[in-house]
């Protein structure tokens, strides 16, 4: 039973990370219909910027994280305005954003070389014991913080004017424009949110035990892609629920799958779940069935 709970908690922690990463994809997809693979560059840039402020400038951890999130959000907005907005169709936009991630990762790791840079997070290897279950201090902090972040996001989405314009644009861009919603503004806000979430995800990824800020972080952003298929490409709720499901399933796969299945099976579990979902419910858990009108 304790094993079960232990795995469940670490699965939820992993799921929170997936939810944050997936939400970044979903926000942009909802606003502009683009699958924004530049999310990978937000993740790696966020991680390394946080390192630059903590490790090189000596700022406190949480201040650095906030600054990194803000800077990456600005980067995302500029990227949208000056690069991605110039391409007219989704086909090119996908490739352009992919190209950005490809080019950004080696540039960033070239600026801050090293296989594993210590982010100096406040948790070290502390473990909290709650009723027989050991929860790492990292998980214990990150789960509520992620939950707060997601809650703030949903409140913003549901109750603010900007949130309303985001939803309106997702529902019907032309009608929203006719009502005076600036789509440029909506795109900008969406990319800013995606950038901030990506940077936060990058920081969280860098605090795993034995991890650190390291090359290859951008690829971890793509781990959220199965999540958005599971949850539905344009559903924020789906991103959160899908993230939690995949996180928990993956952690249980680590424990339960026999060794004879080979090394690295748990790493491909999200993709296998994705294939199953595409077979039985291709639109995802919270996706709407596609209706097309000319």
């Amino acid at each position: 039973m304790t094993d079960f709970l232990q795995t469940l908690v670490s699965g939820i922690a992993l799921g929170c990370l997936y939810a944050v990463l997936a939400l970044g994809f979903v926000i942009v997809a909802r606003a502009s219909g683009i699958l924004n693979l530049a999310q990978g560059s937000f993740v790696i840039l966020g991680g390394y910027l946080a390192y630059a402020f903590v490790g090189q400038l000596g700022l406190p951890f949480w201040v650095s994280v906030l600054i990194a999130m803000a800077l990456v959000a600005v980067f995302a907005v500029l990227l949208e305005a000056f690069v991605v907005h110039k391409v007219t169709d989704h086909f090119a936009a996908l490739l352009v954003t992919f190209g950005i991630t490809i080019a950004a990762a080696p540039i960033i790791t070239g600026i801050w070389p090293g296989d594993s840079l210590n982010l100096g997070d406040p948790w070290k290897l502390d473990v909290l014991r709650i009723g027989g279950i050991g929860i790492t201090a990292r998980d214990a902090t990150l789960i509520p913080i992620t939950a707060l972040l997601l809650l703030a996001f949903f409140l913003f989405f549901r109750y603010t004017r900007i949130g309303l314009s985001l939803r309106a644009t997702a529902l019907d861009p032309e009608a929203a424009m006719a009502q005076g919603v600036s789509t440029r503004f909506v795109f900008g806000i969406s990319w800013a949110i995606a950038g901030a979430l990506g940077a936060f995800g990058g920081v969280v990824l860098s605090t795993t035990v034995g991890g650190g800020v390291r090359p290859g972080l951008e690829v971890y952003a793509f781990l959220a892609l199965p999540v958005i298929i599971l949850g539905g490409l344009e559903s924020p709720l789906g991103a959160v629920v899908g993230g939690l499901i995949i996180g928990v399933v993956q952690q249980f796969a680590v424990i339960l799958v026999p060794e004879s299945w080979g090394s690295g099976f748990a790493d491909v579990v999200p993709y296998l779940v994705m294939l199953i979902i595409l077979l039985i419910r291709p639109a995802g858990l919270f996706g709407r069935k596609e209706v097309r009108r000319a």
């Binding site: 699958l35 086909f91 090119a92 352009v96 080019a103 070389p113 892609l225 958005i228 291709p282």
Partner: protein, 391 residues
């Protein structure tokens, strides 16, 4: 069935004919020159490094041509092309090396194996419109590496495997080719083999894209709803494109195996997929010669990076710490060029050889692009419909 009837009625009324394979004398001449060069270049260049770089470019061009059918002509983005290349490479070694099948049997079988995998995956990825194929194919890369690492008896697991598959057709052994009195080195033979296969693949592709199913793909790409109204079924057309692209990838994989002579699961990761995407975008989407040009260009980038490392402080030489590694430099170049070409030059490098604003490059000075005659008409429509506002 009604769709078939409408189609024949239409074609009778409008006299639509398939575009010709070699429309102009220029294209015929260039095709001839290409074939002559395949033999002339290795006989006149003995430098094994140059020949290997060029042979690798030919193999990359074969795989990229496959991706171009899918991405350029059918408009579906795949980031998992390396998966099918890897499937072809390992299948080639199992069939040719472990089972000892002859070249003429193992290479087609390896290609068909990759094609069968493609047919298996396609229904997952192509059921819905949208970026699903990009996501699924990205997953395939990781699933493929996991599978290759753990199927140790077939793939050698983590350590990979030496490729011992034969490369001889009857008495013609490409590893030690004899033309008249000359005994060629392995590099020279492999150059001829790879470029001949590329010529074959280009010929097949040129024929596919002007065929009925090829035009169906392009119709769906340009406007799926309009195409479906005209009786083109979306899913079969897309599946055709996907299977063809996987077969070419498998073929390239088999050749890559015998070219490298040693393959590991890590060879077929995301970086290889990125290369193929870069090749077709930089070379020219939806053109026959674009991937060839792109592959030659991409083949030059690492050579250039090693050369530049001596002059530019921020590129680290192999084995050095800090700065941008040679492979990292390649990725930066690919990424930036993908963005720049898509923003400013959707036609890719090949479009520099074409005359702007002309549907048919009729004049003799139209350079290699003229050989891709069957594609050029369609490419122009593709550009004009999609590029519109930005150009």
């Amino acid at each position: 069935m009604t769709a078939t009837i409408t189609e024949t009625d239409l074609s009778r009324n409008t006299q639509a004919r398939a575009p010709r394979l070699f429309g102009t004398w220029t294209s015929r001449l260039l095709a001839l020159l290409f074939v002559v060069a395949i033999f002339a270049i290795p006989l006149n260049i003995a430098d094994s490094y140059v020949l290997t770089v060029l042979a690798t470019a030919a193999v990359a061009a074969i795989a990229a041509t496959g991706l171009n059918v899918l991405t350029g002509y059918a408009g579906q983005i795949s980031l998992g092309h390396a998966f099918f290349v890897g499937a072809g490479a390992f299948a080639g070694q199992v069939l040719g090396g472990q089972l000892g099948l002859p070249f003429l049997l193992w290479l087609p079988l390896a290609a068909l194996f990759a094609g069968a995998l493609g047919a298996l995956i396609a229904p997952f990825a192509l059921r819905l419109r949208g970026p699903y194929l990009a996501i699924v194919s990205l997953g395939l890369v990781y699933i493929g590496i996991y599978a290759a690492r753990n199927l140790t008896p077939l793939t050698g697991g983590l350590n990979g495997t030496v490729v011992t598959a034969p490369v001889s057709i009857g008495p013609l052994d490409f590893a030690a080719l004899q033309i008249g009195p000359f005994l060629l080195t392995r590099e020279q033979g492999m150059f001829i083999l790879c470029w001949l296969m590329l010529a074959l693949v280009l010929l097949i592709t040129a024929n596919i894209v002007r065929s009925r199913s090829g035009r169906a793909m392009q119709a769906i790409r340009d406007h799926d709803l309009a195409a479906e109204v005209l009786g083109v079924r979306r899913l079969p057309a897309m599946m055709n494109a996907f299977v063809v692209s996987s077969v070419f990838a498998g073929l390239a994989g088999g050749l890559l195996g015998v070219l490298l002579q040693y393959i590991r699961p890590e060879n077929f990761g995301l970086d290889l997929s990125i290369q193929y995407v870069a090749i077709i975008v930089i070379g020219g989407l939806a053109s026959i010669w674009g991937p060839v040009l792109g592959a030659l260009f991409i083949g030059l980038v690492p050579v250039l990076a090693i050369w530049l490392a001596a002059y530019l402080p921020f590129i680290s030489r192999p084995g050095e710490q800090g700065g941008v590694s040679v492979s990292g430099f390649g990725l930066i170049v690919y990424g930036i060029l993908i963005v720049l070409f898509l923003l400013f030059r959707r036609g890719g490098l090949i479009s520099f050889f074409r005359r702007p604003g002309r549907a048919r490059p009729a004049s003799a000075s139209a350079a290699p692009a003229a050989a891709s005659e069957p594609a050029s008409g369609n490419t122009t429509t593709h550009n004009s419909t999609k590029e519109g506002p930005s150009s």
